[in-house]
Symmetry: C2
Subunit: 340 residues, 2 copies
């Protein structure tokens, strides 16, 4: 009798299992990163430089992937992955950030969590080693979403985040870039096309990360030094929730990079989510529409990375290149730089 | 012969006219404003105070309405209407703005034009009499969308905008408000419900205007002093394109007011536009969904005013009141304060 009961339970449980797996998908996870979109051309790239970019992208995404694989949160994966890129002088975020017109550093970052639509952002900070962590602290420990300037620096310091001297961020490459951009600006009429491509390239290099964890939570983060030679305490799209960063468990997590002014006007990250939520587009269709038709339609350029609640990803751009990488639950790594 | 030709032309022209008016709607115009949403209760209002609010709301909207009626642009109507409210000490924008925790003034504003999705915004300025005009100058005369802090003040000065001493903005009412909010903050545990309502009320008072002109162009503008007692150079939703302000000729123009943090997380203004564009909702349905289901669902409160490309308007809030007014092409004026 006991045996029959056991068998019945086994069959019933088995059926229940099958039913469940029919109705809901198996938990999965995934992570996508970018290190900026722009005029990235093979002709301007040395094999050493390309290898260096690929190495940091692979290292960064591996950090987040390991966290997710071990059941860690998408928030932690995004934060720790972005730290690697903020610490690398190759990208325009944290160390290696571009210089303002006044030869200072002004860093912007934002973070959003898809479960409760919690968000945090900072703009124009000068002393925080990891701006993405400051954005997360604003979300977690302040009543605000967005802090700026010296106030944001002071808040980050009060939270025990690592503070560094402004010189920490400066790299010879960015000092030279500012010099060249200022020279090009001064003689606007005679700028060569190579120089123009160079100046154009200096706009970009923002880093970002989106992740889906095994709990089904989406998160997105973006960190940048903004535009070389920026003036008047300009704020770009990176710290703007809805423009540079957005996450919503119902749809997707998005991090953008590109010509920030166009991305603000197009409310890029939220528009991708809205096309999915209200029009039923896939993440690839939505990202393609917004980057090519909306941003491109206005004359802007750049790209996004995104991941949806099923682990589908988008890496879309209307520029010749975007430093980017994707790693799925199986650990398949895909690092790309150029469009093709 | 000439007479017949003339008659034929007249008939042909007449038919063309009829055809056109069958296919497209007659050009119309309209304007809607708000002066902040919050715990505005009859029990706390004197007849004199209510009359004063109604008078400024009527004066402000009349300015914009006259511009629109005479064929002026929605941009000019929004700018000039907001000037009246920025100059009035009754509202939390320009003169009469609330004070930060450091007893300073930090003004935020943004503007968006619906034709080309052009936009401009400033945050944390301290010396500009009319912040909305600074936002418009950023849009028109800088390569950027958003400037902040001393840089934004410097840019505005370079544009010939009226600069005033910081003391210009200070009013006794707001100095007392800061004192009371700080006292309430200090003794958080013993705060009375009346005092709580007062503290709550100090969050609000942002002004905004949306307009449709006879050319079919939509425009939206928002201007604010932010939250009483704000710290760390906090930025609210008012200067965030997509959150506090959005305009798109294809859908609507929106200006928001309320608990800014929730409005940023909900990307309020763009979400209303997206619900219209992608789901076919009317402006009233879209505004109702976003204010009650989205913002309200997160625990936030506030309201929006909006106008669509046909002149349909929305004045939606989930607070007991919102200072607001609407004027249609016929010149019918509707000023309201309370929910009912």
């Amino acid at each position: 009798m006991k045996k029959i009961l056991f068998l019945s339970l086994l069959i019933a449980f088995g059926c229940k299992q099958i039913e469940t797996s029919d109705q809901t998908s198996t938990p999965t996870f995934g992570i996508v990163i970018h290190g900026g979109a722009g005029t990235i051309l093979r002709v301007n790239m040395t094999p050493e430089r390309e290898a260096a970019y690929r190495e940091v992208l692979a290292e960064a995404i591996q950090v987040g992937h390991t966290i997710l694989k071990n059941g860690g949160s998408s928030q932690e994966a995004v934060e720790k992955t972005i730290h690697i890129m903020e610490d690398s002088p190759l990208f325009n975020a944290g160390k290696g950030a571009v210089l303002t017109s006044d030869e200072t550093i002004e860093l912007d970052a934002s973070f959003m969590h898809g479960a409760q639509l919690d968000a945090g952002a900072i703009s124009g900070v000068k002393t925080i080693r990891h701006p993405i962590s400051a954005a997360i602290k604003v979300m977690e420990n302040s009543p605000h979403v967005m802090l700026s300037g010296v106030g944001a620096d002071a808040f980050a310091a009060s939270q025990g985040l690592e503070i560094v001297a402004p010189e920490y961020f400066f790299t010879e490459r960015r000092i030279n870039s500012l010099k060249r951009v200022k020279e090009a600006e001064a003689k606007k009429e005679s700028i060569s096309s190579t120089e123009e491509a160079f100046v154009q390239h200096q706009r970009y290099g923002t880093v970002g990360c989106v992740a889906l964890d095994l709990e089904g939570n989406l998160a997105a983060g973006t960190s940048t030094g903004g535009m070389t030679n920026k003036k008047w305490n300009r704020i770009g799209d990176a710290p703007i929730i809805g423009a540079g960063t957005y996450a919503n468990n119902a749809t997707c997590a998005i991090s953008a990079t590109g010509w920030g002014e166009f991305f603000i006007r197009s409310v890029v990250a939220h528009d991708i989510s809205a096309l999915m939520e209200y029009k039923g587009l896939s993440i690839q269709e939505a990202a393609h529409t917004v980057i090519h038709d909306k941003v491109g339609g206005l004359g802007g350029d750049g790209g996004v990375v995104g991941i949806d609640s099923k682990g589908n990803v988008a890496m879309e751009m209307n520029t010749p290149g975007m430093y980017r990488a994707h790693m799925d639950a199986e650990g398949k790594l895909n690092v790309k730089i150029y469009k093709d």
